[in-house]
Assembly symmetry: C2
Homo-oligomer: 390 residues x 2
Amino acid sequence: MENFTFYSPTKFVFGKDTESQCGKLVKEFGGSKVLIHFGGGSVVKSGLLDRVKKSLDEEKIPYVELGGVQPNPRDVKVYEGIELCKKENIDFILAVGGGSVIDSAKAIALGNEYDGDFWDFYCGKAAPQKATPVATVLTIAAAGSEGSGDSVITKEEGMVKRGAGGECIRPKFSVLNPELTQTLPAYQTACGITDIMAHVFERYFTNTKDVETTDRLCEAVLLAMINEAPKVIANPNDYQARANIMWAGMVAHNNIVGVGRSQDWNSHGIEHELSGLYDCAHGAGLAVIMPAWMKFVMKHDVMRFAQMAVRIWGCKMDFSNPEKTACEGIQAFRNFLNSIGMPSTLAEVGGKAEDIPTLVKNFGLAEGAKTGGFVNLSSEDIAEIYKLAL
Amino acid sequence: MENFTFYSPTKFVFGKDTESQCGKLVKEFGGSKVLIHFGGGSVVKSGLLDRVKKSLDEEKIPYVELGGVQPNPRDVKVYEGIELCKKENIDFILAVGGGSVIDSAKAIALGNEYDGDFWDFYCGKAAPQKATPVATVLTIAAAGSEGSGDSVITKEEGMVKRGAGGECIRPKFSVLNPELTQTLPAYQTACGITDIMAHVFERYFTNTKDVETTDRLCEAVLLAMINEAPKVIANPNDYQARANIMWAGMVAHNNIVGVGRSQDWNSHGIEHELSGLYDCAHGAGLAVIMPAWMKFVMKHDVMRFAQMAVRIWGCKMDFSNPEKTACEGIQAFRNFLNSIGMPSTLAEVGGKAEDIPTLVKNFGLAEGAKTGGFVNLSSEDIAEIYKLAL
């Protein structure tokens, strides 16, 4: 195990009707004028936005609103939000929505305390040090952004998707009401489940030895997802399954299951080019990419894949041929994703073989460079993974 | 799953040599004059105390020292600490030691901000609202006090052991260096492992339905302990196993594996009377009590015990006789505890059959009352559990 720091100071308020506590929570964390940030009309239609506003009204906390965040949130909306915050002297940002809304709110929070272009934090020119406090009312269990210090934004010019991370953008509080996710269609629900599982797998495939405690915690989240996912796909109103998935989504990404070990985020990176270029759902892109990535890197550590197969997918260990067990595990993951309605091929998310050079170019590795992870990948390797996903 | 709030704002700094960061961390959390609180001579002899002091010196942070905390920490030392803090205008308390030292520091932190008797918080007369900031340098993986808002103190008069809890006594930061635990004798190490496992089991045995995510997380911690414990008992210098156990000890007790479900803390309560009266190690007392408690309550939910047997202890499910599987699981726990050198009987921790009425009386249930949990227990039930442990 490697040395690490773990600091997750977000207050999680979980359960039915918890959005009615927003006003009190904003007050507790010192907010005096709030930007409510949200996406499409669903939070309006469902009455959620009204309930959040009522809760702020009850505490006499003034607010302004900015809706219209798209999935794969764009820089254009972020600039709009920063301008609004500066004009209105906003000191607290409340994101009401899923990962896209939360990530957009985090980007605005960074830009609001920065004199330069907020994109500096996403293209690596500056490191996040200071941000307006952010909090969330989560409506989709997926991105884990409600408990993380990460944000991913797409620059419209060139449709490039990039991430920024820092302690200052970890939410002060997150309201997690599983009821709010019950209206989500099955496809989006399954996309969220895939994203949650991917967050765990990116941590699970490590080169660090002797990490039994975090290995077991990773496996725990995955086992729970395998148990709960079919329930919500069969019955969207299954509150209990929704609740288990929602909490798992936070645990999967606040890093409690990933501390002290090297991690691999290449599947996410390789996927980002897909949702960047084709504007497909991130989870659907991951469903296509992750099994292909697994096949490509499996031989690097067959026993780790065999461990996944046995402990997570319940495969029988073939002691005379561990590689067979490893392959069975990857196939079980593929089958599971199909069973919840996720795609298997690049074509299903709008991808084409002839775009592979563009995808690889957008990934942006310099000539001869490799992107670090469980296996370090060259541009040629990335092209190979896209091909395996065809 | 029930509604819950989860808030664990402690900063964990984990790994080799991390105690050298104490000074910087105290500064980060606003401490300007520190009480260093510790136990016996081991932190002095090992040089740990000097390294902590050096780290404070480097940041020019003044401190006073108070050592001499005993296992099962006493009220007498707490009063001494409160007096010292008030005299010296202490605004930060750094506990260097195991759970006893940390719990004593938390009690001092409460008393330092309170006009009445600190025992008010432990006998239920007052609820903790305000405390001097506490931080820890952990030397024993066991109590989980490094990440919890709990403290347990023994009143010398009558040797009564009582707990207090509140967000205000959660440590601001905790330095977790597994190297510091390598000098612990096997017996104390095993006591710590037992305590960690008990913290998980007290959460695992619940009456709340549909808690798959936290069930799996509980099982993850227990599986990791079962894998790592024999390694440290065989080789006290196994850094990696020590590291896995140390992190598991925090995860077991900051409540991330126990949210949204009813819990059972009766084994802890029943044990407290043992370590209160006989001054035995808390972990050793738990090793005696917990399997007895399991036998006593098993019939309340045989399938939950069967789940424990199969998922944690690898027993084969007897579908025609789940009770047999449940019993096998309890026996497997008993065997595991024995294998790491823990006692099985009351006699081994100094207990006597004729003391049972005193133990039950000290537990303090009013006539006809029951203590709540997985199964609500009367004084007669508690006596029965002590008898099962004879």
